[in-house]
């Protein structure tokens, strides 16, 4: 054991204890403590006999399942086409197919309302041309549509990666055994890719259930996240039911994440065999097959880009009501958010940069200890730091509120939970796993002998770290930081719980506030455009820095 490492580990455990273990512990404690103290399951039991909660649970699960189902229908054909065929514009298809991820689902929802809503473009067209009365965005359907369009690239990326990594010789063996065409796909390829798909689908489900922004924007409150929020904000911070709902959400999330990890850990037989051959270039397409494939790609990608188009259009519109397209254009929406009410953008930048910096420092230290540390029990660190991946944002928000409302920092007369610092801390905790994974990967590239060589050459440990390890991991670590920044900038779930005053609120909450009035929708869309730009730039930057594709969105 190394005393320096032990001290660092104690410090990190303390930080993680306060900001990860304590909040989730507080939520569990409230939900499981009886009126006279002591552990009880009676609160949890009451959840299952309250019709509103059962309806919310059912709605959340149904919406999640439909999101995965529709996402699958959109993603699988695209994935197979891209992985198996070679055609002009293939790389463009891959890039465009991941674009929906840069638009947060609650931003997309605003645009979808404008296009598919009661007075939306498509609805009006259908009525005027065919006399049809469409009602696409009503209730759960709207939420499912917004989420499916946002999340399908997730499934697309997982499945494409798996398909590309399938050892060609496995397929060739299948061919020699007499299988070809559809039978080869069904009997050899599908079973090899299935675990990846299931793992990706489970994570998509978790994210869909976790997303409370879309229900809020669309005004549908009978789901788990919104119910937890309503209990805590309207009934009060001591209302047990809010915490019980949080526990239910955590259970759903943990079960799915564990199942996904388990599947992934068992998947290795399919791809990582020794001597596996790199996949060959796909089959070249010509003629009507090519036309068919291009048509398919255009249709799916077109659907995925509808929210982007809608948001951009809306952000420049002055009047867009009861017409197919805006009837007047303006830059006023951008003037509103940059000049008259710049706080949303400024707050977002401050909180996200702060969260990214904290997360990066913490993650680099944790990764270093995990890989190089000579101290027992360091695995606990990994376990706690990765925990937030299975914690819904609502739960993090509620836990933070519970713990840090009672803490007042010296010199400030208000609870910690009422200051802007709470956003930085909550975002940091929520995205710490991303930063940790990036640091882990970066440090993994640095062979321990590089550090040993520095030591032997005369550099004490800190100097060896500064001159050898740090320069080598910097790219990956910064990429992780950018990822934290990007995801924090569009964080809705934890934000809406923690916002106590409008002056403190970041962009995500601003979008919600603006979108609640017909006149503010343009400004909401303008904020949405800012969010898209931040996410797009950040994702590009993170991919460049980490030197590898896809990393940014592999949760």
């Amino acid at each position: 054991m190394d005393p320096g490492h032990a001290a660092l580990m104690a410090l990190l455990l303390a930080i993680l204890g306060v900001f990860v273990v304590l909040p989730i512990g507080a939520v569990l404690k409230v939900a499981l403590t009886g009126a006279e103290g002591g552990v009880t399951l009676s609160h949890l039991a009451r959840f299952f006999v309250t019709p509103l909660y059962m309806e919310s649970l059912a709605n959340s699960i149904v919406a999640g399942l439909w999101t995965v189902a529709i996402g699958t229908v959109l993603a699988l054909p695209l994935a197979f086409v891209v992985a198996r065929y070679d055609f002009p514009g293939r790389m463009l298809v891959v890039t465009l197919a991941t674009l929906p991820l840069v638009i947060p689902p609650f931003v997309g929802a605003i645009a979808l309302m404008q296009i598919f809503g009661r007075a939306g473009t498509v609805t009006l067209l259908a009525q005027d041309l065919f006399g049809l009365r469409l009602n696409i965005m009503e209730g759960l359907r709207g939420i499912i549509l917004a989420q499916a369009l946002h999340f399908f690239p997730f499934i697309f990326l997982t499945v494409t990666t798996a398909l590309v990594n399938v050892d060609r010789s496995l397929e060739e063996m299948g061919q020699m055994m007499g299988a070809h065409g559809w039978r080869l796909q069904r009997r050899v390829v599908f079973p090899l890719v299935l675990p990846s798909y299931v793992a990706g689908a489970l994570l998509t489900f978790v994210k869909a259930v976790d997303d409370i922004g879309t229900p809020f924007i669309l005004g549908f409150k009978n789901m788990l996240g919104p119910q937890a929020y309503l209990r805590i904000t309207t009934v009060g911070r001591d209302d047990v039911d809010g915490y019980v709902i949080c526990v239910i959400m955590v259970i759903i999330s943990i079960v799915c994440v564990l199942a996904s990890n388990w599947i992934v850990s068992r998947r290795e037989y399919a791809t990582l065999q020794t001597g596996a051959r790199a996949p060959e270039q796909g089959r070249t397409l010509r003629g009507w097959r090519l036309a068919g494939v291009l048509g398919l790609c255009a249709a799916i990608i077109g659907a995925g880009l509808v929210p982007h188009l809608g948001v951009v259009l809306l952000s420049f519109s002055k009047v867009w009501s009861l017409s197919y397209l805006p009837s007047a254009y303006t830059l006023g929406n951008f003037a509103e958010i940059f000049l008259r009410a710049p706080r949303f953008v400024v707050n977002t930048l401050v909180y996200s940069v702060g969260a990214a910096l904290l997360a990066v420092v913490l993650a680099a230290a944790i990764a270093y200890l995990l890989q190089r540390g000579r101290v027992p029990g360091k695995g606990v660190l990994d376990w706690i730091a990765m925990m937030p991946i299975a914690l819904p944002g609502v739960v993090v928000g509620v836990g933070f509120l519970r713990v840090f409302y009672g803490i007042t920092l010296p010199g400030i007369d208000q609870p910690l939970a009422a200051t802007w610092v709470i956003f930085v801390l909550a975002y940091m905790v929520r995205r710490l796993p991303y930063a940790l994974r990036a640091s882990h990967a970066a440090l993994h590239q640095v062979h321990p002998s590089l550090e040993d060589a520095a030591g032997v050459s005369g550099a004490p440990r800190l100097r060896a770290f500064r001159r050898v390890v740090l320069p080598l991991i910097l790219g990956g670590v910064v990429a992780g930081g950018v990822l934290v920044f990007v995801t924090a900038a569009v964080e809705f779930s934890a934000t809406i719980i923690l916002v106590s005053r409008i002056e403190q609120s970041p962009l995500a909450y601003g979008i919600y506030v603006y979108s609640q009035s017909a006149l503010g929708r343009g400004a909401a869309a303008a904020l949405g455009v800012v969010a898209i730009v931040i996410v797009a730039l950040g994702t590009y930057l993170a991919n460049r820095l980490s030197g590898r594709g896809k990393m940014a969105f592999t949760l």
Binding site: S449, L450, D452, A453, A454, G455, V456, S457, G458, A459
Partner: protein, 367 residues
């Protein structure tokens, strides 16, 4: 370059990893200017020992002394050693020049002096003018040279080499081996070398320590360990050997007669095998290259003759190895550097192996 080499002594060095003992109670003295090699199969504790001498690993027990000074608790950056790692461990974000200059910068060598010393070190390894390259732009052999230059530029008191040649292809390995030995003789630096390759060990070293499962099996000059292996492991690991169980029948001035379990009698040179008495249980150790294949009806002459059947021929062009099943049932390997003669014998043919009493080594069985 002015080096002041040290001698290295380890006393009672002991190191465990969880439940396995990596190095057990190791004591030895490495002389100033010596080229000393730890030889053994993977997992024998040789690299662990080297890392403890370097200070990269702390021993559980025992001490390391440089010139009599206890350095056991001295961190590597204060030991003034040069080290070449198996994977070279060149810093990929630094040029060749920066890699070599690193240790000088850490030693606060004046800036004006660094350039000249780096150039000198690069010239020493035949890389003059390559300072501006990045490690990724170099071949394996060149990377190896940079690692060597980086190790010697600081004028270390001790040079540690951890399987430095194992990542090179066969031809380059031989070339680097020759250069390494020239460089070491030229600098006169105390050098500790770790390898699992017996050829490297025999060719490079002034002395070799053979290790097995954390224990020191034998220590001696290359000729010592090859010609007079202390036990069957060393004999087998260095060059390979056949082992036959037997019992000493008689000891005379002319030789030691040993009865094998199959009944045949083997005569061993008395000069090479001293201290045996009739009735001793021994292991007869025969080097494959000392065995000559002859027709079954050949006369023994002055040598030993064992009869059997040729079971397997492995023809490698310059070399042929054969497996012979002796009458008693034991399998032995023979090896001939010029296999034209051996090719006359077919697999399955009755055959005899002939060897001189000088080539018989008797190992006392542990009581």
């Amino acid at each position: 370059m002015r080096l002041q080499p040290v001698d290295v002594e380890v006393r009672g060095l002991h190191r465990r990893f969880r439940d396995t003992v990596a190095v057990a109670d190791l004591s030895l003295l490495i002389e100033r200017g010596e080229f000393f090699t730890f030889l053994g199969p993977s997992g024998c504790g040789k690299t662990t020992t080297l890392r403890m001498i370097a200070g990269l690993l702390e021993p559980d027990e025992g001490e390391v002394r440089f010139d009599g000074r206890d350095v056991t608790r001295v961190p590597p950056w204060h030991r003034n050693i040069g080290m070449v790692f198996q994977n070279y461990a060149l810093w990929p974000h630094m040029t060749v020049h920066e890699n070599v200059a690193f240790g000088l910068v850490e030693r606060r060598v004046p800036r004006g002096e660094i350039g000249g010393r780096v150039e000198e070190a690069l010239r020493l390894v035949g890389l003059e003018g390559m300072g501006g390259r990045l490690p990724s732009q170099l071949s394996g052999g060149q990377q190896q040279r940079v690692a060597l230059a980086r190790a010697v530029v600081i004028e270390p008191a001790l040079l540690l080499l951890d399987e430095p040649l194992s990542n090179l292809d066969a031809k380059l390995r031989v070339q680097m081996r020759n250069e390494l030995v020239k460089l070491q003789r030229q600098l006169g630096i105390t050098t500790i070398y770790v390898t699992h390759d017996q050829e490297e060990a025999l060719m490079l070293s002034t002395r070799v320590a053979v290790m097995h499962r954390g224990h020191l099996m034998q220590i001696g000059s290359p000729q010592d360990v090859y010609e007079r292996p202390a036990d069957p492991f060393v004999a087998d690991f260095l060059g390979g050997a056949n082992f036959l169980a037997g019992e000493v029948q008689s000891v005379t001035g002319g030789g030691v007669a040993v009865a094998l379990e199959g009944g045949e009698v083997v005569r061993a040179s008395a000069a090479r095998n001293t201290g045996f008495a009739p009735g001793d249980r021994v292991t007869v150790c025969l080097r494959p290259e000392a065995l000559e294949l002859v027709p079954a009806d050949e006369a023994a002459g002055g040598g030993n003759l064992l009869h059997g059947v040729l079971r397997l021929r492995n023809y490698l062009g310059w070399l042929m190895t054969c497996e012979i099943e002796l009458r008693g049932g034991a399998l032995i390997r023979a090896q001939a550097a010029n296999p034209r003669v051996q090719l006359r014998f077919a697999e399955g043919a009755p055959i005899a192996v002939r060897f001189s009493p000088e080539d018989v080594l008797l190992l006392r069985n542990p009581a």
